[in-house]
């Protein structure tokens, strides 16, 4: 029952060509998603055609690497790319409509640029209790 999911790793220089091939083959761009890992950054370009799921994984060594935009091929990619720029602080060049960091006006810039901290129990803050409902509700 588990669907088959193809995963292909690629490097930045082949990205646009690969994506263009998918476009020519009339694949639908399902999503572009980014993952920050301690040692690298992955960007997933997912495509679908007749329930065939193909994922290209672009691997970046760090967030300084320039990523070419695929929005000139898939117009809708611009939304994903702007999002990635705003959350991960990646340098994506050539987005057809570049929001220049105003896609999400977050309190914290590039919130996802930091990698998850080493696993440890989450310290919970002490809640401020306004109403004390002891036992039963009033």
């Amino acid at each position: 029952m588990i669907e088959e999911q193809k995963l292909i790793e690629i490097i930045p220089s082949e990205l646009v060509a690969k994506v263009r091939d998918m476009f020519v083959e009339q694949y639908r761009l399902v999503q572009i998603g980014c993952t920050k890992l301690p040692d690298r950054i992955e960007i997933n370009y997912s495509f679908d055609k007749n329930y065939q799921f193909i994922n290209y994984r672009l691997i970046l060594a760090n967030d300084k690497v320039e990523v070419p935009s695929v929005s000139s091929v898939y117009w809708n990619a611009l939304f994903y790319e702007n999002e990635i720029h705003d959350l991960f602080g990646l340098n994506i060049v050539g987005i057809v409509l570049d929001f220049k960091g105003t896609f999400y006006e977050t309190k914290e810039k590039y919130a996802f640029a930091t990698c998850p901290p080493p696993i440890e129990p989450v310290i919970k803050t002490t809640p401020v209790v306004n109403i004390k409902e002891k036992g039963k509700p009033q």
Binding site: K124, T125, T126, P127, V128, V129, N130, I131, K132, E133, K134, G135, K136, P137, Q138
Partner: protein, 100 residues
């Protein structure tokens, strides 16, 4: 359809003149039957919104109704089964009532 509605009884349930019997299993608010409670703090740990404060020493258990998202996590986890999900929802408060 419109005319039919005009001449038939409206679908309105006349709350607050009438109150509907809450559905069985409806998630309304959490109550702790404190007498059975062992103050194990498991519910405090499991609460995703930190709404529950348990003090082992002082033997107090409190829930902030303005934080509880009625997810039922505490009820599920309670080893003593003293937590109960009531079907009645917790009431709203004015700012004055809250600060009191």
């Amino acid at each position: 359809m419109v005319l039919k509605s005009l001449f038939s009884k409206p679908a309105t349930y006349m709350y607050p003149l009438l109150t509907r019997e809450p559905m069985v299993g409806s998630r309304g608010s959490i109550v702790n039957h404190v007498d059975q409670c062992s103050y194990c703090t498991l519910c405090q740990k499991k609460c995703p919104t930190d709404a529950i404060v348990v003090d082992r020493e002082k033997k107090t258990w409190a829930i902030d109704s303005m934080r509880c998202i009625t997810c039922n996590a505490c009820v599920d986890v309670c080893p003593k089964s003293c937590l109960e999900m009531l079907t009645t929802y917790s009431s709203s408060k004015t700012a004055a009532e809250l600060s009191r």
